[in-house]
Assembly symmetry: C2
Homo-oligomer: 107 residues x 2
Amino acid sequence: MNTDNTKSQMRKGMLEYCIMLLLRHQPCYANDIIQRLHEAEMIVMEGTLYPLLSRLKRDGLLGYEWRESTQGPPRKYYVLTDDGQEALSQLDASWEEILRTVNILKQ
Amino acid sequence: MNTDNTKSQMRKGMLEYCIMLLLRHQPCYANDIIQRLHEAEMIVMEGTLYPLLSRLKRDGLLGYEWRESTQGPPRKYYVLTDDGQEALSQLDASWEEILRTVNILKQ
DNA sequence: TTCAGTACCTTGCCATACAAGGTATTACAA
DNA sequence: TTGTAATACCTTGTATGGCAAGGTACTGAA
């Protein structure tokens, strides 16, 4: 568990958090994620996403399973692991903290 | 004006935004900033802050003036320039966008 | 069997957070 | 007057990570 590191990363980017929020509801493969984030007004590039997913997988926060597609090669569907769920809870807390910080500074 | 770039930086970090929010109200020198951000629950290191301030200065978003101190060497008080004010408005918008994104993803 | 579409991944570059270390000015006490 | 502590500003080196560009592999249809 490297939430300290993740937390410090959060200052650098909301991306990781947003992706894990997405996966909280349902397994997704890369293009799913890109499209859904786009719908939520956040742009993410392939070259950013794939390394990020690999990293989260390597850190044990995500797992994946292959699923057949009717329209091309099989897809890697990523899922939150139990560790991932827990890390996400901590990220939720970090997000609340950022919210507080910004609200204080906006006064 | 490189708000596109700043906007993309924002995904990486809230720091720049928070510092400019601080300076919206009043001129501050480095230790002021560190302390006030700390009070707002955001930690920032000297080695992060000084280059960041120099960068914002170089980009014309901040200016500074020297002020005497009763307790040591003179201090560099940073102020938002007009360009800085405008950039900050755009960062406000980006922040709202992130808020929307997270709220959508949290549903 | 070739080509377009889809999907996954890597490489190289650049920006930046951070730790650590360095320099300069000031105040104060010996 | 000199030395020392406190304050303040800044730089260097390292690691991380976003992004553009390019590459590989599988699938299905012309």
